[in-house]
Symmetry: C2
Subunit: 159 residues, 2 copies
């Protein structure tokens, strides 16, 4: 049994896989007569076709240690996950090695962080760690198969 | 002094102004081996040019009664606001009458509701009612002036 440890999510560590959507990453533009900070354009949206859409995902909360037995990726579009509660969530990603995932990494977000998975990045399914498990998802709306799944021959324990 | 009362936000009442982004509005698609519900494509994104982007807004919480003295609109794009905490927020919108706002409506969201303002809809600035006032905003990234402001000759008290 393979076991990996979670790490705190940082934009630097996550850069090979996607964007961390957080307020700390850029200087804000001050708007609304000083009452609001705008942290602008934090995610690289990338769709081969179709268009961007806004959806909601309501996912069952999990807990650590978590048994990972499947990775997936979306060849036609990036996918952003924005938590709609003040809770961390678990983010699992992997590098690609000739069409298969390899070198799995697990991160736990800080409160207020979202992520944007770059197009074709191997990742685990959405894994909240707390109720209500509600997320806004900005991803590709389009036709055709945009899902590749890879069941792991040996499950990985994420601790 | 004009005074208006807030109403609970419903998709029906908000339809002339935009979309309510909420789980109750459509039947979900069940994904991730039964562990996640996907409520698909809940907002009409509409940009005359440019592209959709994901930004974060951190806004100062307000309280009721709130004095409204300015409305604004964005002629080139829709604008979605997704709360990143489990709190209601105040949404103020108005109809258009020959290039000026008229007939102002104020809504208080339910927990877990976001909104998408249709392109060119008159609205108040982002007004959280609770800390932390953190929102994900999906709107137009592009050049040129996309802001029209209308200072109200007589402020409106929103109660």
């Amino acid at each position: 049994m393979i076991k990996i440890q979670t790490k705190p999510l940082t934009s630097r560590a996550f850069a090979p896989f996607g964007d961390v959507i957080e307020t700390g990453s850029v200087d804000p533009k001050i708007i609304n007569q000083g009452n609001c900070e705008r942290f602008n354009d934090l995610a690289k949206m990338d769709f081969t076709d179709g268009r961007a859409g806004i959806s909601l995902f309501s996912a069952k909360p999990r807990s650590l240690p978590y048994t990972l037995d499947l990775l997936e990726r979306h060849p036609h579009g990036s996918q952003a996950f924005i938590p709609m509660s003040q809770h961390p969530f678990l983010v699992i990603v992997a590098h690609d090695d000739g069409g298969k995932p390899s070198d799995v990494h697990a991160f736990v977000t800080d409160i207020g962080q979202g992520i944007n998975l770059h197009r074709n990045t191997w990742h685990g399914v959405l894994t909240p760690l707390h109720e209500p498990g509600l997320f806004c998802v900005i991803d590709r709306i389009g036709s055709g198969n945009n899902l590749q799944e890879y069941p792991l021959p040996t499950p990985i324990i994420v601790a």
